[in-house]
């Protein structure tokens, strides 16, 4: 049950009769009696209104809702209200979305005549990744006077999966262009780019003389004339069908917020860019999100399906406040592939203490695979190391310098153990990882 402000206003209107009636009747009716009569009248009207109001329990709810939406993009959600009762419902409806689902407007006024169906639409603009839910819809049904209302909450759960935004896809066209350069599709072929033998063909002007294959040239006879030496060059292309295993750390260090973005979100962005690029280059990508258990896994998918599967798997994963169990990671990678692979570890390398477990398993991983450790660096640390105006600033700069040294020490240790390191601010890291991948590809080191 609920009452409306209209009831309060009506009650306030009673001030007039309380003053006027005793004067008009010449004191025949006392002000107190008038007041009591007015309150009784208002109460009677409210009770009448409540009795006539349509039952909100008779409403059946259906939802029309996209099952996924990219973070930052709006989605339209529709509620269909069917009035199965025998009286009209003048309703105020609220859909119980979580605040981060960004439902606008949050409440709707509408009239559903008896036995009919009406729709209300709202725009969801989620501002947090993951599963955004609504558990219930509340219907408040006013009587014809709008004084009092019956209210019921109808359990009608719904969820929309908010996918990572993949904002780093703006870097994709330029990296794809570089990939095509590697792939021999441009007219200029430069030796040294790519490492897999592609084909032999006749020399054309402009080819690198170093790519001339003399043995093939010696065997070659012009089929048309049988005479006349033609020079033959080798062409190369980057290796294909390499395996890439991305391991994203969802432990407590990934919960750190850097530059208004969680570490794990940056890891997702970087993984998506790498996956988009590598799948175009013909490599196979497997992704595992892991802390002490596998939180999500995308395996054995190729082509256009891959990115969709990845964002869907990543969407509901939030970092947990537990220490990542690195000792199980080599076995995890082995379970994904037996072949030599590029293993990309998305974690943080802030301090030697925190990275001890990671450093412990690196030799084991590096023996079989090429290991790349990706970590987000905090731009404010670098800024702080330059701000040395006063005493506070100098101590802060020292602490920042110390933090950078720690990162450098861990990086050096990783390199000594056979791994490689890519670091960058949240904006820089995805393209930096893509560039490192292209460099490895060009050098034929996958």
């Amino acid at each position: 049950m609920a009452i409306s402000s209209r009831l309060a206003a009506l009650l306030a209107l009673g001030v007039l009769p309380v003053i006027v009636v005793p004067i008009a009747t010449g004191g025949g009716v006392s002000p107190t009696a008038t007041m009591l009569a007015w309150i009784g009248l208002v109460l009677a009207l409210a009770v009448l209104d409540l009795a006539v109001a349509g039952s909100p329990r008779a409403v059946r709810i259906e939802r029309e809702l996209p099952d996924r939406v990219r973070l930052g993009e709006p989605a339209t959600a529709t509620l269909l209200l069917t009035n199965r009762g025998s009286r009209n419902i003048r309703a105020l409806v609220r859909d119980g979305w979580e605040p981060s689902a960004g439902a606008q407007p949050s409440r709707h006024g509408l009239v559903v005549p008896a036995g009919e169906r009406r729709a209300v639409t709202m725009t969801l603009t989620p501002f947090r990744r993951g599963e955004r839910r609504s558990h219930h819809v509340t219907v408040r049904s006013f009587g014809p006077l709008g004084l009092a209302a019956r209210q019921a909450t109808l359990a009608e759960p719904a969820a929309i999966r908010v996918l990572p935004p993949f904002a780093s896809r703006r870097h994709l066209p330029s990296r794809l262009a570089r990939l095509r350069e590697l792939d021999g599709r441009t007219s200029v072929m430069i030796r040294g780019q790519g490492s897999e033998f592609d084909s032999l063909r006749d020399y054309v002007r402009g080819d690198d003389v170093r790519s001339i294959d003399w043995r093939a040239t010696a065997r070659r006879r012009d089929p048309a004339t049988g005479t006349g030496q033609r020079v033959v060059v080798r062409t190369w292309r980057p290796e294909r069908d390499r395996r890439i295993v991305i391991v994203i750390d969802s432990g407590r260090t990934s919960a750190a917020r850097i530059d208004n973005e969680l570490r794990i979100d940056t890891a997702f962005e970087s993984s998506l860019l790498l996956a988009a690029l590598a799948s175009r280059a013909g490599d196979r990508i497997d992704t595992v999100i892991y802390d002490r258990r596998v939180r999500a896994r995308v395996q054995g998918t190729t082509g256009s399906e891959l990115l969709a599967r990845m964002v869907t798997a990543m969407a509901p994963v939030d970092p947990e406040l537990i220490e990542t169990d690195w000792t199980a990671v080599p076995a995890l990678v082995t379970s994904v592939t037996n072949r030599q692979a590029l293993v990309v570890l998305m974690t943080s390398i802030d301090s030697p203490g925190n990275s001890r477990a990671l450093l412990g398993v690196l030799p084991q991983l590096a023996r079989r695979h090429r290991v790349l450790v990706c970590s987000v660096t905090d731009p404010t640390v670098k800024e702080a190391s330059r701000e040395r105006k006063d005493r506070d600033g100098v101590f802060r700069a020292a602490a920042a310098e110390r933090a950078m040294l720690d990162t450098a020490r861990v990086s050096a240790a990783i390199r000594r153990l056979g791994g490689d390191v890519v670091t960058g601010t949240p904006q820089e890291l995805p393209p930096a990882l893509a560039d490192r991948y292209l460099a490895l590809k060009a050098a034929g080191q996958l």
């Binding site: 981060s100 209210q151 109808l154 750190a256």
Partner: protein
């Protein structure tokens, strides 16, 4: 209307059924508690002091009832007119107990003319000055007092609880009896006779109360004092005795003010309820854990600062600078500092000794030196960066 199973809000009937047990329980508990309290007599109020109808410890009902048992007609009055009416028939004792301080001196003087014997209990200053101007207040009295005068009630009582007020006779009138002296000529009972009328000023309030009337000779004292005549009028001045005819605030305001105020209060309550009713239950936002990444750095900075770890802080700055410089002059990160210092000094044209002192040697003894050194490190960093920029 059949409620579908998906409705989360319970029906009125379901709510009532769920609360029924508790309502019954609460009612039963309250009833039980009330019965127990009343039965035990606990929590009974002390009552108004010396209220002739008060059964509480502070009341004086016991005294009044005993007087009635002994054949004294006791009339309780609350206004001067009633008192006059009640006392005019025959010889009467008038008890005046002005606990609210209502009577002024003139009114008290007129009360003295009503009855032959006027007993004033714990009088105010006004009453005392109207009735017996020769008697003055002398402060509080405690303890049990012995009979020390010829008055019959006091003689019979022998010992009386004196807790209450004491009075002093300050005039030189002869027809005055002072009794129950508690030292320093402070008396708890002073009887003044004047033209055939007697005024007794009584301060022993405790001796008359229900709680203590049975102690010592209190009962004999009280009954003897008040039961002298067959008629007793117990006069407690009420609001009707207040002087003055000025209209009070209730008479000045228009009659609708109170109802309108009540109505507006109800409006406020109704508006609050209307606005305060939630449209459905609260929705919980499941927040993920997030940690500010710079927390460690800030914490370490505060630690340095609190312990004034100047050398440690400077060392961190130095190591960072040396590594950057080594990178800029194309030396490996593992190159010795001396080598870096020499190369850098040559590059920027400074004395190798001073550069070496800056990068390794100098120990800061104050914050000022620390800031200065850190500034110089930054300058060196910039100078080398400028010099090596192609």
């Amino acid at each position: 209307m059949t409620a579908s199973p998906s409705v989360a809000t319970p029906t009125v009937r379901a709510t009532a059924r769920r609360w029924l047990y508790w309502v019954i329980f609460a009612v039963a508990a309250i009833t039980l508690a009330l019965v127990a309290f009343i039965g035990a007599g606990a929590g009974r109020p002390l009552g108004v002091p010396l209220d002739p109808q008060g059964p509480g410890p502070a009341g004086a009902k016991a005294l009044v009832e005993v007087l009635r048992d002994r054949g004294v007609t006791v009339t309780l009055t609350e206004s001067m007119a009633d008192t006059r009416e009640a006392a005019k028939s025959d010889a009467a004792t008038l008890v005046l107990h002005d606990r609210a301080g209502i009577l002024d001196a003139d009114a008290a003087a007129s009360a003295a003319r009503i009855a032959e014997h006027l007993v004033v209990i714990d009088p105010t200053y006004d009453v005392l000055s109207g009735l017996a101007p020769e008697v003055a207040h002398a402060g509080a009295v405690e303890g049990v007092l012995d009979a020390d005068c010829s008055l019959a009630p006091v003689q019979r009582a022998e010992r009386v609880v004196g807790d209450g007020q004491g009075y002093r006779h300050i005039g030189d009138s002869q027809d005055v009896t002072t009794c129950l002296d508690s030292g320093d000529s402070v008396a708890s009972l002073i009887q003044v006779r004047e033209g055939g009328r007697t005024v007794s000023v009584v301060g022993t309030t405790a001796a008359l109360s229900n709680e203590r009337i049975a102690q010592h000779g209190n009962a004999a004292f009280a009954l003897g004092l008040l039961g002298e005549h067959p008629h007793l009028v117990w006069y407690v001045p009420g609001l009707g005795d207040l002087p003055g005819d000025a209209p009070d605030i209730a008479e000045l305001t228009p009659p609708w003010v109170t109802p309108v105020t009540v109505l507006l209060l109800l409006v406020v309550v109704a508006a609050g309820v209307a606005q305060g009713r939630r449209l459905g239950p609260l929705v919980v936002e499941r927040l993920p854990v997030t940690v500010r990444a710079t927390e460690t750095m800030e914490g370490r900075a505060r630690l340095y600062q609190r312990s004034s770890a100047r050398l440690r802080a400077l060392d961190a700055l130095r190591v960072g600078t040396v590594q950057r410089l080594a990178g800029m002059v194309k030396l490996p990160a593992s190159a010795p500092v001396e080598q870096v210092a020499d190369l850098v000094a040559a590059l920027v044209g400074q004395a190798p000794q001073s550069v070496k002192a800056l990068l390794v040697g100098t120990i800061p003894h104050s914050d000022r030196e620390l800031i200065e050194l850190s500034d110089r490190l930054l300058e060196l960093d910039r100078a080398v960066a400028d010099a090596t920029r192609p």
